[in-house]
């Protein structure tokens, strides 16, 4: 019943994580993650490679099941609900994958229309209008008949965003939105995220390791390192943090020596064993 009181305390939290742990085999990669995401805010999950941020994202969207802990999305614990209920929640969330993950055998328009065809009973002309609208929102008007293979990396990401927006989601997830793009295209994607935030007041969660992009789009940030949250707060709070690990990440200081990496490997392999 503790959950009920916390709902009353934080009425606007659309996502709440409580002591979320994830194991791969007998290795624990997330060691008790706690945070809230408020309605309408943009939360950036920041972290280096191997920090566990991608696992955290996969867990948030229900692709990975936490070993223990709770993830509440709009009041349902996605770790405990049935598959059918999880699929219902997914209809109200959108996800833009790192490489776009567009279906190669369909045109861009068919990609965007797919969720609408699957989950709504809309007539074809209505779907046609909606997909054009979504493509226009991401700056891809007129590309509906292109195949994904004909698009550049940045355009693929935009198309993926259009597809994620198709069902007018309440929560939008981005996995590494600017990874692999040149600075100008990456800035364009950042601007797109800002525009979406302004236009729809959507709750947006972004996983990234790009500092510039993170500080531009975030309302709040969570810095994750070796499966722990080392800091969280507003941009200003993070920027003024004196915590060594935060400073190292923000000031882009390399690991002092190889021993550090060995320690890291050791923490991965020895500490935090999961009970089989």
């Amino acid at each position: 019943m503790a959950q009920d009181t916390s709902i009353r305390e934080e009425p606007r939290a659309v996502i709440r994580l409580r002591d979320v742990r994830v194991c791969y085999g007998d290795k624990e990669v997330l060691h008790g993650i706690d945070f809230n995401v408020m309605a309408g805010e943009t939360l950036v999950i920041l972290g280096g490679s191997g920090s566990g941020k991608s696992t955290l994202m996969r867990t948030l969207i229900g692709l990975e099941k936490p070993t223990s802990g709770q993830i509440w999305i709009n009041g349902s614990d996605i770790a405990a609900i049935s598959e059918d209920e999880l699929y219902e929640i997914r209809k109200k969330t959108g996800m833009s994958f790192q490489g776009g993950a567009l279906f190669g055998s369909m045109t861009v328009g068919e990609n965007v229309a797919l969720p609408l065809r699957e989950h709504t009973k809309l007539e074809d002309p209505t779907i046609e209008i909606m997909l054009r609208l979504k493509l226009k929102q991401v700056g891809l008007a007129g590309f509906e008949y292109h195949m994904p293979s004909q698009l550049s990396g940045g355009m693929k990401k935009r198309a993926a965003v259009a597809r994620a927006l198709a069902m007018d989601p309440e929560i939008l997830f981005f996995d590494e939105p600017s990874a692999g793009l040149d600075p100008i295209i990456a800035a364009g994607i950042d601007k797109l995220i800002l525009d979406l935030k302004k236009a729809f007041r959507m709750t947006i969660i972004v996983v990234t390791h790009e500092l510039a992009s993170a500080f531009l789009i975030a309302d709040r940030m969570v810095l994750i390192d070796k499966g722990h949250i080392v800091a969280s707060g507003t941009k200003e709070e993070l920027r003024s943090s004196v915590q060594p690990r935060v400073r190292q990440f923000l000031d882009r200081v390399p690991e002092p020596d190889v021993e550090g990496e060995l320690d890291y490997l050791q923490t991965l392999t020895e500490q935090y064993r999961c009970e089989p």
Binding site: R90, F97, A101, E118, R163
Partner: protein, 265 residues
């Protein structure tokens, strides 16, 4: 002691694999036969294109292979039959071995090579490019979207291909019959038809449906369990082919053994 524990581990792995196969086949069957009555319509377009790919696409190569096999069977059995003065039974030999055994088996092996591998490669690539994850985040079930159309296409097309393979095998045998065994073409065909009873053909068709389910389940499961990285797609594809052939032969043996035991072989 170590051998025993290793053996135990293998058996457990094998059982887990069979459970996974059963699960994917069961779910595909659910979306094929029950789903349409529970608001999850069949993907007709996708099923038709899969059926074209699995079935129609295999016709030329399957025809050639089974005609050759029919002919080879006739060549191999003729000397033995001739020793007993029973050369005229070459039509029976070819017709029975094609329809009961070789038709379904060769069809399955050709379809494994063409389509089982393609299923694993297609789904494996989608796994690597996160398209399977994307389907799930769009609340579209991968088994409903990807596996069920393949499943239905396979259980419809494999029996058709098998009938065709039987026919081509018999025609291959007829070539020998006409050239080397003093048959006229019509008499050879008549002899083949007389030799067959419905039970033989039906048993071949039942086998082909079992093989179709096996090929789809293995191909799709291997695709779904593809690891990270493009090189894993190749590995999944190879595994799909090897495991499908192995399982098809094992199921064939089980089916034939049980039929024999029940006295209906």
């Amino acid at each position: 002691m170590r051998i025993v524990s290793q053996l135990g581990a293998w058996i457990l792995d094998g059982l887990a694999y069979f459970m996974a196969l059963g699960k994917i086949a069961g779910r595909a069957a659910y979306y094929t036969f029950l789903g349409p009555f529970r608001g999850k319509p069949l993907r007709v377009q996708s099923t038709i294109s899969q059926a074209m790919e699995v079935g129609v696409g295999a016709f030329p190569i399957l025809s050639l292979i089974t005609a050759c096999i029919g002919l080879i069977l006739a060549f191999e059995s003729a000397p033995q039959l001739a020793r007993f003065g029973a050369l005229k039974y070459v039509a029976n030999t070819v017709a029975l071995s094609m329809s009961k055994e070789l038709g379904p088996l060769i069809t399955a092996i050709v379809v494994i090579g063409r389509s089982g591998s393609a299923f694993a490669a297609e789904i494996g690539t989608m796994r690597v490019t996160e398209e399977i994850d994307a389907l799930e985040t769009m609340a579209i079930r991968p088994v409903h979207f990807l596996v069920a159309p393949k499943f239905l296409a396979m259980i419809l097309m494999l029996p058709c291909l098998t009938i065709w393979a039987d026919t081509m095998g018999i025609l291959g045998g007829a070539l020998f019959g006409v050239l080397k065994a003093d048959f006229t073409f019509l008499r050879y065909i008549q002899a083949s038809v007389d030799a067959l009873v419905w039970r033989d053909i039906v048993s071949g068709l039942i086998k082909s449906v079992i093989f179709g389910i096996t090929i789809t389940a293995v191909g799709c499961l291997e695709g779904m369990s593809t690891g990270l990285g493009p090189e894993q797609v190749g590995r999944s594809t190879t595994r799909a082919v090897v495991r499908s052939i192995l399982l098809v032969v094992i199921f064939d043996l089980l089916y034939t053994g049980v039929s024999f035991g029940l006295g209906i072989a």
